[in-house]
Symmetry: D2
C-alpha cells in the first residue's frame, strides 16, 4: 500500500455514480456562459432536446430540469398525481424506498410491495395486484429500473406486459437514474409513461440535470391533474422548448456538456454502450465468484450491468473495508445504504470506463480484501481477465444470461 498522504495519479471513482466525466465533456462545459435568450442558445437548446430523445428512445418531449435526479422524481409525481392518489411501488432497495418516502410526503397513498433488496420488481406480482384492482384505483405503477443500492435491474419490459395483461390503465413511471445511457432502455417501445433520470451516471455529466421523458398519456394526465406545482410543471417548459429555450434560466454550461455527452454516446452507438457494460459486469461477477464472496443480486436475469453489490462476510464491516480501499488505493467504492449499511459494498463499473480501468478497480478490491484481512480466495482478477479476453466459457454464458 502507498503510505503517502498525498494521492497521485487519477482517483478511481468506482461508486455507481457520479461517474467519471470525460475530458471532452468537462472541456465543453468549460466555456463562457451565453445569453439564454439569444439565437446561439436556441440552437443549443434544440440540439440537446432532440439528442436527449435519442437516448431515451422516444419521439415525445423530454423535459430537462436544473435539478438532481430527486427533483425529477418529484416532477414525475406532481405533474401526474394528486394527494390521495393510490400508487403501486416496489421495495427494490434504498432508492425505491426514498422515492416512496417522497410519495408519502406528497400525500400519495402508496401500496409498497415489500422486497428483500436482492430481487427486482416482480412482473407476476404486479400483474396479480393490478388484476385484483378492478376499480382501477391505482393511478400509477412506480418502479426503479436499476436499483443503484443493490445492483439489481428490474425487467421493465416485462412489467409493461404485466400491466397490459391486467388490462390496467395505471401510468407506468420508471426511475432510470442509474441505467439511462448504460443499460438497454426504450421509453416509447416499452410503453413507459414517465421516465425519470439525471445527468451524473450513464450520461457521464456532473450532477445538476434532472430529466422526465413523458408519454402522451402522461401529458394528458398532467393536464387534468390539479396538483399544485410551478417549477416542475411540464407544460411551460415544453412550450418554451419548441423554440429551444426554457421558461426559466436553464443550466447553460451543463447543457454544453450534455450536447457533448450525447455526441459521445452516439459515436459509440447505444448498442455498443450497452454491450460494453455487460462485459464489465460479467468480468466483475467472475472476480466476485472467485473471491468466494456473494453477489447481493440473486437472480441472474436481474444482474446489473452497471454495478455489482458485494456482500461482506459475516463479522466484517463493509465501510471499514471501503476505508481501506480509499486510504490505500485512492479508490471510492459505493457504501451499503440504510438497512444494508456496513453489510455490502458496491463496485460501480459504468460510464466513461474501459477494461483497464475495470482491472485497476478489481485489483484494488482484491488487494484491499487482503490488507483488510477479509477472508477470500485470491485470483479474482485472473477470472475477470479471462472474461475480458473471452477465454472463460462460463462467463460467456453469464454474459448471455445478462442479456
Amino acid at each position: 500500500m502507498s503510505n503517502a498522504s498525498v494521492h497521485t495519479g487519477r482517483h478511481f471513482l468506482q461508486i455507481p455514480g457520479p461517474t467519471n466525466v470525460p475530458d471532452r465533456v468537462l472541456r465543453a462545459m468549460d466555456m463562457p456562459t451565453i445569453d439564454h435568450r439569444g439565437p446561439e442558445f436556441a440552437q443549443l437548446g434544440l440540439e440537446v432536446i432532440e439528442g436527449s430523445k435519442k437516448v431515451f428512445k422516444t419521439k415525445n418531449p423530454v423535459i430537462i430540469y436544473p435539478s438532481s435526479g430527486t427533483g425529477a422524481w418529484e416532477a414525475a409525481i406532481v405533474n401526474t398525481l394528486s394527494p390521495g392518489d393510490k400508487v403501486l411501488m416496489v421495495e427494490t432497495g434504498h432508492f425505491a424506498t426514498l422515492w416512496r418516502a417522497m410519495a408519502d410526503k406528497l400525500k400519495l397513498d402508496v401500496e409498497f410491495v415489500p422486497g428483500d433488496w436482492r430481487h427486482g420488481a416482480s412482473p407476476e406480482d404486479i400483474e396479480a395486484r393490478l388484476s385484483k384492482d378492478k376499480a382501477h384505483s391505482f393511478k400509477a405503477v412506480m418502479v426503479v429500473h436499476n436499483e443503484t443500492s443493490t445492483g439489481v435491474t428490474s425487467r421493465i419490459h416485462e412489467i409493461r406486459k404485466a400491466i397490459d395483461a391486467a388490462k390496467h390503465p395505471a401510468l407506468l413511471m420508471v426511475d432510470t437514474i442509474s441505467s439511462l445511457g448504460s443499460i438497454d432502455y426504450e421509453h416509447d417501445k416499452w410503453g413507459v409513461d414517465v421516465t425519470v433520470s439525471c445527468s451524473q451516471k450513464g450520461l457521464m455529466l456532473p450532477p445538476g440535470l434532472g430529466f422526465n421523458a413523458v408519454s402522451d398519456k402522461a401529458l394528458e394526465a398532467s393536464k387534468k391533474n390539479a396538483s399544485l406545482r410551478s417549477y416542475w410543471d411540464w407544460h411551460e417548459i415544453i412550450a418554451a422548448n419548441k423554440g429551444g429555450s426554457w421558461s426559466y434560466t436553464p443550466a447553460t454550461n451543463m447543457l454544453y456538456g450534455l450536447k457533448e455527452a450525447i455526441a459521445m454516446l452516439m459515436e459509440e452507438g447505444l448498442d455498443n454502450v450497452f454491450a460494453r457494460h455487460k462485459r464489465y459486469s460479467a468480468a466483475t461477477r467472475a472476480a466476485v465468484e472467485t473471491w468466494g464472496l456473494e453477489n447481493l443480486c440473486l437472480d441472474p436475469r436481474e444482474y446489473s450491468p452497471i454495478l455489482t453489490a458485494v456482500v461482506m462476510p459475516e463479522g466484517h464491516d463493509a465501510d471499514q473495508f471501503r476505508k481501506v480501499t480509499l486510504d490505500n488505493f485512492d479508490m471510492s467504492l459505493g457504501a451499503g445504504l440504510s438497512k444494508i449499511k456496513g453489510k455490502v459494498f458496491r463496485i460501480g463499473h459504468l460510464g466513461h470506463f474501459n477494461d483497464l480501468m475495470l482491472m485497476g478497480t478489481l485489483a484494488g478490491v482484491e488487494m484491499a480484501l487482503d490488507l483488510a484481512k477479509v477472508p477470500h480466495r485470491a485470483g479474482g482478477v485472473m477470472s475477470a481477465m479471462s472474461v475480458l479476453t473471452g477465454r472463460d466459457a462460463k462467463a460467456s454464458q453469464a454474459k448471455t444470461a445478462v442479456a
Copy 2:
C-alpha cells in the same frame, strides 16, 4: 461594423445575468467529479456553506439547491406558506410579476401592489397596508431587491423598518437574484426572513444553483407549515449540511465553482465589490443622459448598480436595436420583458467586469445607436469616461446619490 459572419474576440455578454464567469471559476469547475459521500466532498461542502453565509451576511443556514433561481423562489414559498395564505407582493416589474404568478399557482392569496415598473417597492405603502391589517392576515411580504427587468433597486432596509413600524409579524422574503454579491445586502442585520438567490449573477457562476438564506423565524414557520414539499424541504438538507453533505446528490462541480467565486469576492472585499458596481452604473447613466435617452428608473435613490434599463425613443424598437448590437458588435444586451418588450433595452454591468469592459460596452451601444439610426446625441462614452476618471463632479454626486 464588422461584416464577418464569424465572430472574433470575446463576446460582450451585457445582459444582467448570466454574467461573465471568471476563468478561475470555470477552471475550478473543470475538475473530476468526486464522491459526494466521501471525506473530500464533506470538506468542500462545509466550505461553501460557510462561505455562502458570508456573502448573504448571515449566521443562519443557507440552503443551496441544484436549481435555477426560480426553484429558490418556490423553495421560499413552500417551506413557509400554505395554500390560502395571504401575502403582500409588489409589482416592481417582470420578475416580481413572475414570482406572483408562481404564488398564484401555489394557491397563495396574493395582494399585488400595482406598480409602474419604474419605481421600487414603497416602504410607505407597505407600512400603510400592513398597519391596516390588524388581524395580521398577511403571512409574508415578498419583494424583489433588484428588479432585473427594470434596473430599479428597492430599499429593503427601509421596508424592514416599515414592517417594524407597522408592528406586523409577516415574514419578509426578498429576491436577491440579481443583487447578491453585487449590491449591498445584509440578511441578518436587515431582518430578512428568507433571502432567495441564484448562482449566475453576482456570484459569477453559470446558472444551476438556487439559494435560500433563512432566519430563525422562517425556520420556525417552516416547522409549522403543512404545505406539501419534498425536494425543496429545508430541514433534511440543513441536517445533512451539518456534516458537509446533502440529502440528495448536490451539483458537485457547481460547488467547486462556488468555492472559487466566494474566494474571489472575499479577496476583493464585498465593500469594494459594491462600490465598483456603483461606479459602473454612474458611468452608464452619464452616457445615457448624454445620449439624451431616458433611464427607466425614475428615482435616484433606486438606481440599480448592476444594470441600466434604457427607454427607446418612440418609434424605435428596442429588440431591433439589440439585433444591431448583436450582429455588428457581438454584444448581447438585455431585452425589455413582457409589457415593456421592444420599449426598453437593458445594459448589464455586473459581475466579473471592469472599466474597460464597460467602455467597450458603452461604445458598442453608442455605435449601434448610430447604425440603427436611433436619435441620440454623440458623446455618451466621453461622459462615462469622465465619471470613471473622477472628473465629472455631477457624476460624483450621482454616485453619492446611488450610495
Copy 3:
C-alpha cells in the same frame, strides 16, 4: 480609476503579442498528452503541417519547432548560412537589431542598413545595394515584415521585386513573427526563401512554437551549407514530418492548439482576418490623431495593421504612462524598446480581438492620458467609433492607404 488592488473582469492584454488566446484554443490544449509515436498523433501531425502551409500560403515544407520565435530566427540562419557569409539586413527597429545581433554572434558578415525606426526597409535602397554587388557576395537579404517595436510594416512584395530587378541570387529571409495570420503575406507568390514566425501573435497561441517556411532554393542552400547544427536542422524534421511525426518530441499540446487556431483562421477566412486588422489600425490611428499625438510610423504605406506605436510628448515618460494604464485599468500596453524606451508606447490590436475590445482599449488609453496628465485633446474614442461605424470618410481613405 479603480482603487482596488484586486483586478476584476478580463485583463486587457494590448501588447503586440503574446495576444489573447481564444478559449477554443486553450481548451483544445487542455487535453491529455498522447503518444507522439502513435497513429492518433500522426494524424494530428499531418493536419497541423498541412494547415500551417495554408497560413504561410506555401506548398513547400513548414518546419515547426518547440521554440520561441528567436529559435526560428536561428534556424533560418544556421540552415542556410555559414560563418563569414555576407548578408544584408535593415535596421527597421529593435527586433531587426536583435536579429542582426544574433547574426553577429553566429559570425555572419552583416551589412546593416541604418534606419530611423520610423520607416520600413526601402526596396529602392535594397535594389541599389544589391545592384552594386556584382560579385554576389550577399548570400541573403534579411528583413522584418512587421517591425513589432515600431508599428511599421515593410513591403516584402516590393523587396522581392527589388531583388529581382537587381538580378541578385541572394536568399530572401523574412521575419513574420508579428504579421503571420494578421497581415497579408504570401510565402510562395512573393518568392520568399525562408519565412520565420512563431505561435503567440496572429496564430493566437501561447508562446512555444517557432516556424520556418522554406523555398526549394533555401532547401537547396541548406544541403550545401556546412554550418554546424542539429536541433534546428530542417532535413531530419522534414523527413519525419512525412509520416506526421517529428525527429524529436514535439510540443504535443501546443500542436492541439495550433490545429484549433488554424481552424479558426480558416473559418473566418484569411482575407477577412487581414481586413479586420486594418479596420482596427485605422480606428486606432484616428484616435491617436485626435489626441494630437504622433504615430511613430511616418509612411502611410507602412502603417502596421496590428499595432500602433505612439510617440509620447516631450517631457512625459511612456513607461510611467504604461504603469498608469496597468494600475488603473488593468491594461498592458507595449513598451518602447531599447533606444525608444520611455519615448513610445505601443497599442497592440491583433489576434483574437474585436471592435468592442478595441474601444475598451482606446478608452483606457484616453482615460490614462487624462489621469497621467499627458497633454492631449479629448475625443480620440469618438474618432475611432466614426471609423468603425464607417462614418469617417477620411478614415476610409486612411483605410485605403493601409491596403
Copy 4:
C-alpha cells in the same frame, strides 16, 4: 477484448514519457497568457526558477528553454564545448546514441564506449579511461542517467567518484530526461556540471520545455568557450532571469504548468516520489518474472524505477504486440528503438501514476500477451499485487536492491 472502434474511458499512456499530465497542471496551463514583461510574469518567473532548483537539488542557475529535451542536450554542448573537443560518452542505448550523433554533428571528437544496451555506464570503465588520459584531453564525460530506451539507470554518483578517483578535470554532463522528478538525483551533491532535462516525464508537463542545471565550473567553461551560439547561450538568459524574465519570449503557459507541477512534487515530497516509483518498478518486475519474460536490464543495481523494458520471446514481434494492446485495450506501450526495434516493448510506470493505474497497465499487458498468443505464464498481475500489498518478501528484497 473490446471491438468498438470508439474508445471509452481514459487512455492508458504507458510509454515512458510523455507521461500523464495531472488535471491540476493542465488546468493551470489553461489560463490567459500574460505580458511576459509585466510584474505578474516576473513573479511567476522567479517562482519557477527557484522551484526548478529544488527539483534539480542545486543552488546554481537552472536555465529553462522553450524547447524539447533534445534542445537541452544541444544547449549543454554548445555552451561548454567547441568543435574538436574530445568527450567521453557511453553507449547505454538509443538515447545515448542519439546524443552522441548530435555531438558528432556539432563536431565533437567522441570516444563512444560501446555497450550492450543492457547495462548502464560503468564507473570502473570510465575511471580506467580517464586515468589513462594523462593529458586531460577529455573535456567532458557525458552520460545518460536513466536510459529511456532500455530501462537501465546508470549510477551517476559512482561515476562522479570514478572521475574524482582518476583526478580528471573533465566536466560531467548528465541527461536526466526521464529521471528528473522520478529517480533520486542531486545536481550539487553529486558534483554534476551540466544536468540536462525536459518537461514531459517526471515533471508531469506536456513536452515543450528543456532545462540545463549548471555548476560554477560549467559556467566558467562556458565563458571561455568560443563555440558559436545564440538561442542556447546561458548567460543572457541567466542575466534576464535575475528579474524573473527571459531574454526572449518564454513559453508562458508551460511555465504556469511548471509552477503547479513543482508544487505537486513538493507537496508529495521528493523522497516519497522516488520511493513510489521504486514500488511500481518492483511490482512490474515481479509480473515480468512470473510471465517468464526477460527484463532487458541485467544488473539489479541498475533497474530503472520508471520503466521496464521487456524482451519479446524469439519469433514474436514486439510492435505487433503493442498494436494488440493499443487496439484491444487502448493502451500505448513504448516501442523498442533502433537496434532493438521489434525485440522489446517498454512499460512506462512514472509520473502522475498510482497503484491501480499500474494494475490496469499490467493486466492489459497480461491480457494482450494472451490475445497475441505470446508464450507466457499467467499470474503476473498476482505477483505484482503481492509486491504492492507487501506480502512478497522477495519483491521486498528486489525493492531494497533497487534502492
